[in-house]
Each structure stands twice: as structure tokens, then as C-alpha cells.
């Protein structure tokens, strides 16, 4: 890989040990993927913020590293294992809180913006078309690539942090035009109501490592958010090309190797397969974090109804969206907890719950593994009906 004199200097440790480590990491990954050079990034999104996911090993690394390095571009942080203000209501113990607090202060001292959300693009860190970024949250990378037209690979937590420190990433993968071209075309003529996340779930499996060209009914921004999140959870690719977002990308039809159709009946079968139980300890909505639009539409539906409490209910959102919708939050709070900074995937829900229902395709992948839950998929509307009368 070709490095500039300035990059060589950093690699040689002339700008300190922390920057050197970060540069080593960025360069090593570039070498693995055959990058020719480094390119500047507009922002970073750093994952691995919950104590539950990174553990004592992660704390140790972040604390040691935080004394030596600072981010040089805008860098925001993924959700934590708890709501910073309402963690007690989540059944989180003091020990977990204390460890989480150490992670936060390590990131803070490195200059990371404490947004605590998987939807940084709804909380102020929103790249524009063509911008190169180094994002680590899988659902956010797919949104950035596919909806916003920005360019990022699916970074790991440490590599996103390293990129934020040196302000650069290696130019490979989805930073390059040739890798953004779709290689499989996926037709979906009709998506039943509420099953957009499962369309993403199925597309991820079909596409594997290939960028899919989606031919499907137009989707709202929020539908893109849930579709992409599920796709990135079941698949290894962080981008799709969609007809209604065609203008966002130069990719054409050339290079399509395969055409697949997902029938409506297959989506219904998928929903049936992920149905799970009819009784739940927890109903969790907001993976990825609910947008203001989603908070509004849920509160509109629930406004005229009364709570029907059979299980705990979580609405997970970003602090930013929470602050922008006080009236909606007031409605939702009658039906459950509105939690910020965290979600059902990275919070230690296994300590309190065993069976969780969600409207998220991504959560169907992570609840059974990371969360040790019996997971049940239901469309948003059905969950709202279940928690209200």
C-alpha cells in the first residue's frame, strides 16, 4: 500500500504511540484487503460500547488506549447496555452500571460523541452522498451505503475507532465503485404489511456477500432502515441498490449473475417460521432505534387506546429522537418504558427475560444468540395491538 510521508510518520510513531497503533491497524486491514492507499473519512461510527458485548477485555483495552489517542474526525458511539438515566428500571445492577460508566468515560476522553445510537444518521451524524466514512454498526453502514449514498465498509469496533483517530480508512471494498455494483437481482412484487424487516432478513440470506439489486415496492426511510438492518444481520454485505434510490448510486445492471424472486407466500412462511411463542416476558420495539416518525405513528395509534399489560414493553430510541417528541413519548410511556441509549440487542436482557417479541428482523438474529431469548417476530401493528385495548 502506498502511504504518504505524513502517514509514514504516524506509522513510525513520530506522533505518539496511540496514533501509531491506530495507523498500524488501518494499514494492516488495508493490506489484508489489498487496498492501494488510505482515504480521508468524514466521520466514524464506533460499535462495541455496551459492557455486555465487550466485557472486561474491552474495558481494559479502551482505558489503556484512551490515555494515548484522540479522534480527529467526528465519531459517534453505538448504544450502551443501559439507559444512562433510567437504568435502574431496567433491572441493571450497580456493578454493570459501573463498568458501563468506565467504557463511557474512556470513549469520552478520546473525544467520541456520546450519541449512544445505532441511528447516528437521525441524531446529527448524517453523511452525504459520495462521502467516505468508517462506520461499524451494521445497520447504520447499510443505511449509509444504500439510502444515503455514502461509502463505508462494515468496520469492527476497534477499526472504526482507529479510523476516527487517524481520520482515514483504507480504500477497499465498498469504497470502490466496482464493489458497489449489484451482482444479484432480487424481485419482490409485494411485501405484506409489517413484513419489510423479513424481506431484509430473506434478502440477506440470499445475497450472502453480493450486493443485491432490489426490485420491490417503494419503501419509506424507516422501512429502508429496518430492511437494511435485517439484511445486514443475516448477510455479509452492507449494501443494496434499490430502484427508488437508484439516483443515489452509479451502479447499473451490468454484472448481475443471478435473478431471484421472493414470493409473497415465502415472506409469509418466513413470518410463520419466526413466530415463536404467543406469550412473552418482553415486547421490544426499536431495533434499529425508533425514528421520530415511528414514535409519532405509534403514539397516534395508541393515543385512543388503553394499556393492556401482560408483559414488559420497551420502546428503544435515541436520546435525540426522544427529546424531539415529548408529546409522543408521554403517550408511549403509558404503555411501556421508553428507553434511550440502549436496545434489546446490547442490553443484558437475559438477566430479566426469557421470551421476547419484536418487530425487528435484525433482533430475530441477535435475540436468540446474544440475548439468549426465545424470540418471536410480530409486525409492529400486532405488537401495538397486543399491548393495548
Amino acid at each position: 500500500m502506498h502511504l504518504t510521508k505524513q502517514e509514514e510518520r504516524i506509522l513510525a510513531g513520530e506522533e505518539g504511540h496511540g496514533k501509531q497503533k491506530a495507523m498500524e491497524l488501518v494499514v494492516a486491514l488495508g493490506d489484508i484487503y489489498g487496498a492501494k492507499r488510505l482515504i480521508p473519512i468524514a466521520s466514524a461510527q464506533i460499535s462495541g460500547a455496551s459492557f455486555k458485548t465487550i466485557g472486561d477485555a474491552g474495558i481494559k483495552f479502551l482505558e489503556d488506549f484512551s490515555g494515548e489517542a484522540k479522534v480527529s474526525v467526528r465519531a459517534s458511539l453505538n448504544p450502551l447496555g443501559l439507559d444512562e438515566r433510567r437504568w435502574r428500571t431496567m433491572g441493571i445492577d450497580r456493578a454493570f452500571f459501573d463498568k458501563q460508566a468506565r467504557i463511557i468515560s474512556a470513549f469520552q476522553s478520546m473525544g467520541v460523541e456520546l450519541l449512544y445510537t445505532c441511528t447516528p444518521y437521525l441524531a446529527g451524524n448524517r453523511p452525504t452522498r459520495g462521502q467516505h466514512v468508517a462506520w461499524a454498526e451494521s445497520s447504520a453502514t447499510v443505511f449509509a451505503n444504500s439510502y444515503l449514498g455514502a461509502r463505508t465498509n462494515r468496520e469492527g469496533g476497534p477499526s472504526a475507532l482507529a479510523s476516527a483517530i487517524v481520520g482515514k480508512t483504507a480504500e477497499y471494498g465498498l469504497h470502490l465503485d466496482e464493489n458497489r455494483r449489484p451482482r444479484v437481482r432480487i424481485n419482490i412484487d409485494e411485501i405484506p404489511e409489517g413484513l419489510v424487516p423479513l424481506a431484509g432478513y430473506m434478502v440477506g440470506r440470499l445475497a450472502g456477500k453480493r450486493v443485491p439489486l432490489m426490485s420491490c415496492p417503494p419503501m419509506s426511510a424507516d422501512q429502508h432502515k429496518s430492511f437494511g438492518a435485517a439484511m445486514a444481520a443475516t448477510g455479509a454485505v452492507s449494501m443494496y441498490v434499490c430502484r427508488d434510490r437508484r439516483g443515489r448510486d452509479a451502479s447499473g445492471k451490468d454484472g448481475i449473475e443471478e435473478c431471484v424472486t421472493i414470493e409473497k407466500s415465502e415472506l409469509l412462511d418466513c413470518a410463520e417460521g419466526l413466530k415463536g411463542d404467543d406469550e412473552w416476558d418482553l415486547i421490544a420495539i426499536g431495533c434499529p432505534h425508533c425514528s421520530p416518525v415511528e414514535l409519532r405513528s405509534m403514539s397516534k395509534f395508541l393515543k385512543a387506546r388503553r394499556p393492556n399489560k401482560k408483559s414488559d414493553v420497551w420502546f428503544c430510541t435515541s436520546r435525540k429522537a426522544f427529546a424531539s417528541c415529548p408529546r409522543e413519548i408521554a403517550v408511549l410511556r403509558k404503555f411501556g418504558k421508553v428507553l434511550c441509549d440502549t436496545c434489546m440487542v446490547v442490553a443484558p436482557i437475559e438477566n430479566s427475560y426469557k421470551r421476547t417479541a419484536s418487530d425487528s428482523g435484525k433482533a430475530m438474529v441477535y435475540l436468540p444468540t446474544l440475548g439468549k431469548q426465545k424470540a418471536s417476530f410480530r409486525p409492529t401493528r400486532q405488537l401495538l395491538e397486543a399491548i393495548s385495548r
Partner: protein
């Protein structure tokens, strides 16, 4: 040495440095202060942090050798300052081998092993392949079935060696080489055979053998597995015919 992919999160106990992955043949072994060889990494990205933890606990391996580096292991090796080399065929390494790692230059040496370059020509006629049984007079693999094989002499090119062996062993002059593939390495005790494979086509299935073989057969590619062959012969044939 693990012949299966490794995750450092859950796959290695950070306080003891022991492998705790039932799927790994290194399960129960300590990797502390050893050169740890495995094909590549798997599992959660938190595995990088787990490698750092291992280092902080003083239980890290002294080096990591991989078939192919993937981001989780590479990241962990960098943040934990563990020397790492990739692009090494770790199937040639056995637990307990002495391994010399130079991560700056990016190479690995196994000083206890000897590497020997040999040619193996697979002769084909009318779709059938020639197998020869090694006689009791040869130095190695007596009674086992092989292609037309022999050492590559110093300063000899492999194709020349193949030509010479074909002439000596089965009296094929002016062989028609159909295909050659990159050398394939096999480990047998302290020896690494670096086999240079060739595919040769002859019209006439009548051949004459010399003292090195006591009989020969023409077989279909499928029948190879019915014979007790020298190490790696099947792989050589599969690769030659599949190429």
C-alpha cells in the same frame, strides 16, 4: 496448533490461556508463550479485545500464524502486540513443532523439517490414469501406489525432472504435457514433500517399468481411493484434473 478456525472470545480462557473450544483439536492445550497456528479467525468482533485481555493477563501466545488473516485476528494481534504472520499453510505444522516466526519480514521457518522437491507425473491414456506400485527396492513408500515420481535434482527444472523420470521409469520419450499446477506440499513426519504435479497424455497404454516399480494399472480417476497410495496422491490427481 488448531486445524479448525478459532475465536478468542469464548474459544480461549483469558485467565489460563487454554483453548476451551470443543471443536478445536487444540482443546485443553495452553497457547501461552507458544506460537499458535490456526487457519483463520471466526466469531464475534469482540474477539480482538479478548486477545488484548490475554496479553494483559500474561497468557498471550508469543506469535500467531494463520493461513489467511481476517480482520478480527489481525486487529487483536495489533492492539495486543502479538507478532503475526499469515499466508502460511498451517496444515504442514504439527503441535510441538519448533517454529521460528519473523513477523517484520513476514515469514515462518520450521527448522526441524526438511523440504524435498519432487515431481509427480500423472500419465493419462484414453481417459484412464496410470498408477504404479513402488517396488521393495526403492527407499520410501514401498508397496504404495504412485504416479511417475522422483526427486528434482539441484539445478534441474521441474519439467526436465518430469521428462527424465518418465523416460527412466516408464520409458515414455517426448511426453506430451497437458497441464501443470502449482506445487502442493505434504507433511510426512519430519519431511515436507513439495510435489510439482504434471498431467501427461500418451496414446499407447503399453508401457515398460523399471526396477522402481513392480506393477502398474490403468484406472479411472474414481478408483484412486481404492488404492493405498503415497501421501497426497489423490489431492494431486483431483487438482490436476479439476484445474
Amino acid at each position: 496448533m488448531s486445524s479448525t478456525p478459532m475465536s478468542f472470545l469464548g474459544g480461549v480462557d483469558p485467565s489460563t490461556g487454554r483453548v476451551v473450544d470443543p471443536e478445536s483439536d487444540a482443546n485443553g492445550e495452553s497457547i501461552s508463550d507458544s506460537v499458535f497456528c490456526f487457519p483463520f479467525g471466526k466469531g464475534s468482533t469482540v474477539g480482538s479485545y479478548a486477545m488484548y485481555q490475554l496479553k494483559v493477563n500474561g497468557r498471550a501466545p508469543s506469535a500467531i500464524v494463520n493461513d489467511s488473516a481476517e480482520p478480527i485476528i489481525a486487529t487483536g494481534a495489533i492492539i495486543a502486540d502479538i507478532p503475526m504472520v499469515d499466508g502460511v499453510d498451517v496444515t504442514l505444522v504439527r503441535a510441538g513443532d519448533e517454529v521460528f516466526v519473523d513477523a517484520d519480514e513476514g515469514f515462518v521457518e520450521l527448522p526441524e523439517l526438511t523440504e524435498q522437491h519432487v515431481v509427480t507425473s500423472i500419465v493419462r491414456s484414453r481417459g484412464k490414469l496410470l498408477l504404479l506400485r513402488r517396488s521393495n527396492k526403492v527407499g520410501s513408500y514401498r508397496g504404495q501406489w504412485a504416479g511417475v515420481s522422483g526427486f528434482i535434482e539441484p539445478h534441474e527444472e521441474d519439467r526436465m525432472a518430469a521428462r527424465r523420470e518418465l523416460a527412466e521409469e516408464v520409458m515414455i520419450e517426448n511426453p506430451r504435457f497437458i497441464r501443470r499446477i502449482d506445487p502442493i506440499r505434504f507433511r510426512d513426519k519430519r519431511m515436507v514433500w513439495c510435489v510439482h504435479p504434471f498431467l501427461v497424455e500418451v496414446k499407447d497404454p503399453e508401457i515398460k517399468t523399471d526396477w522402481e516399480h513392480d506393477c502398474y494399472r490403468w484406472i479411472t480417476p474414481r478408483e484412486v481411493s481404492d488404492y493405498r497410495t503415497v501421501p497426497g496422491l489423490r489431492q494431486v490427481i483431483d487438482k490436476l484434473l479439476g484445474a
